[in-house]
């Protein structure tokens, strides 16, 4: 038995080493960092222990801007992408011909490099001296004024960021919802048809409750994912997000850690811990709500 014991631990050892070294230890360490005041990266010394790092971060206008951006992004993209994905999935499951083709197309954004395709979005939306760009051309067609979405007003930049974020997260949501819809027993729909249930009622009374666990799963993971937004913003606006006014919380963490404004792991840690607390709170609220709302 004890040799078996040893053998099992031997199999586990590589995974354990990696996890302890690169996940468990860092997790503890980041909390320690966040309370060490005046940490100096070069000499690895600090003055004392306290909450100064948190108060610095919470008073940093860049951080507040990042929090604002992130919240706007979350509040817009999570409902819009989930609703849109629901609509598309329902449409997708109601058709037979071409369904596979559509499914394949819809999944494409998942397997693309966020940074690379972000560049394409940038040139589609950007307005330079040479060209107004594709999207402005469309706007002009409908009689609108050209807007620079990349270096222009805040709402325009936010619009592109939300649009691109939704574009990137849709494949996952469509996929999850279509498989959830496919797993609903077709007998329910048959029974509803025999009873002459109107389409809308079938959707609200049968389909939605049946897939509600999956919808809540998507909302929760959607919130978590959207709060961690970063590379989408970099793809569109470049690495200096503070200058563009489009930084996100995660972006702020990395900027504090590294780059032109970097070298402050304590501030970065404090910001990361704040982010974690926000995400945790919202996830818990979500779970509580879903406990009440998901009915089976």
């Amino acid at each position: 038995m004890s040799t078996n014991n040893k053998k099992a631990w031997l199999y586990l050892l590589p995974a354990l080493l990696f996890l302890i070294f690169f996940m468990v230890y860092p997790l503890i360490d980041v909390i320690i960092y966040s309370v060490e005041e005046g940490y100096n990266f070069a000499s690895q010394t600090y003055f004392g222990v306290g909450t100064y790092n948190f108060s610095y971060v919470l008073h940093d206008p860049y951080f507040l801007q990042a929090v604002k951006n992130t919240f706007i992004l979350v509040i817009i993209t999570v409902p819009v992408s989930t609703g849109l994905a629901l609509l598309i999935s329902v449409g997708l499951s109601s058709i037979r011909p071409l369904r596979e083709l559509y499914q394949t197309i819809y999944f494409l954004p998942y397997v693309t490099n966020t940074l690379a395709v972000g560049l394409v979005f940038m040139i589609l939306f950007q307005r330079t001296e040479y060209t107004d760009g594709m999207v402005n051309l469309l706007i002009n067609w409908f009689g609108g004024e050209s807007v620079d979405f990349i270096d222009g007003p805040y709402w325009a930049k936010m619009f592109v960021l939300c649009f691109y974020t939704i574009w990137v997260v849709m494949p996952f949501k469509i996929l999850v919802l279509t498989s959830a819809l496919a797993s609903v027993n077709p007998d329910y729909y048959k029974a509803a048809r025999v009873d002459g249930t109107p389409r809308l009622r079938v959707f609200t009374k049968i389909t939605l409750p049946m897939i509600s666990p999956m919808i809540f799963y998507l909302v929760i993971t959607g919130f978590i994912g959207a709060f961690k937004a970063y590379s989408d913003a970099v793809a569109l606006f470049g690495t200096d997000l503070n200058a563009a006014g489009m930084n996100t919380i995660v972006g702020y963490v990395y900027d504090m850690l590294y780059g032109d404004s970097g070298g402050y792991p304590s501030y970065a840690s404090a910001a990361a811990v704040i982010l974690f607390v926000i995400v945790l709170t919202i996830t818990c609220v979500n779970l509580l709500v879903s406990k009440k709302r998901v009915r089976y």
Binding site: N5, K7, A8, Y11, L12, P14, A15, F18, L19, F22, M23, V24, P26, L27, D29, V30, Y33, F41, L87, S94, Y102, T104, I105, F107, L108, Y110, V111, T112, N113, T114, L115, A116, V117, L119, V120, I123, Y130, T131, D132, G133, M134, W167, M170, P171, F172, L175, S179, K228, Y230, G238, V250, V253, L257, P265, A268, S269, A272, V273, L275, F276
Partner: protein, 289 residues
């Protein structure tokens, strides 16, 4: 009465047809939104520099496609090097991940040892830790170990994946116990049983996990950005960012698009080949990044 029913029936049929038509229109619009950026990047990548800049109003097609931009992408900036780095990074990371995860999953699924449940619960709780929290210390650790701008520094923290261990463990557990007992009776060692029986039976899942990890590696941006500032070690994500900010000069959009195409194509091919496996794996709960 008869005619009444007929009328209702006809109206219902009309509504169904209308709804179907609307569905197809809606689905096609979204397909267009998804595909258009891909089309645009291909189109722009074959427009010549001069003609692209001459278009104040962008045109939707080009009559004189050129491959010059692709030549530029590989000669003016070290795109080939970025690709090579990414391939090395993705292959080694994925290999290590698969080996480490298979061993751990096997221990959880098949071997009996004291504290197994406790360790597994701890394992699962690690799934909830966001990578943003641990990246900070890892950055400091790797810097202190003098491993910045090395493949070792890039790869090591990227190996761990609790989720894939979990996925593999679930799959391993579905292999019937009798096989293990039969193998024991025949005097098969655990390692041999894992290699000769478990792995072949669970190959579909292992392939799925491998592909998902490769995609993840190919697209990873944050960690490579933190840990490399020497372009000789850039991966494609950082490379494309570098190209954008300092590469061809900001204005050579067609060459930039050529680079984007080169970066995107391998994954799209991988996806089209393993479409079913990838979508199945992701549907089981894989999250991007």
């Amino acid at each position: 009465m008869e005619a009444d029913y007929e009328k209702i029936q006809k109206a219902a049929a009309r509504r169904t047809a209308l709804l179907r038509g609307l569905t197809y229109v809606g689905l096609s619009i979204w397909a267009l939104i998804v595909l258009f950026p891909f089309y645009w990047m291909l189109l722009t990548s074959v427009k010549s520099y001069a003609s692209y800049n001459a278009e104040y109003v962008p045109s939707f097609f080009t009559l004189h496609p050129t491959l010059q931009n692709y030549v530029d992408a590989f000669t003016a900036v070290p795109l080939g090097g970025y690709l090579m780095n990414t391939v090395i990074f993705a292959v080694i990371t994925t290999l290590l991940m698969v080996v480490v995860s298979v061993l751990a999953a096997y221990a959880f699924a098949r071997l009996e040892f004291r504290g197994k449940d406790l360790v597994f619960t701890l394992f699962l709780s690690l799934m909830m830790i966001p990578s943003e929290l641990v990246v900070i210390t890892n950055f400091v650790t790797i810097t202190n170990l003098d491993l910045r701008n090395t493949f070792t520094g890039l790869i090591l923290p990227s190996v761990t994946s609790v989720f894939y261990i979990y996925l593999l463990k679930e799959n391993f557990e579905q292999v019937p116990d009798e096989l293990y007992r039969a193998a024991k009776v025949d005097g098969t060692s655990d390692l041999k049983y894992l290699w000769k029986v478990m792995v072949p039976i669970c190959r579909p899942t292992i392939i799925t996990v491998t592909i998902l990890k490769i995609i993840e590696c190919w697209n990873s941006y944050v960690w490579p950005r933190l840990i490399t500032d020497d372009p000789a070690y850039y991966l494609v994500s950082n490379g494309i960012q570098e190209i954008r900010e300092n590469g061809f000069g900001r204005e050579n959009i067609p060459a930039m698009m050529a680079a984007v195409v080169v970066i995107s194509v391998p994954l799209i091919i991988l996806f089209l080949v393993f479409r079913r496996k990838i979508m199945e794996g992701v549907a089981r709960g894989g999250m991007k990044g």
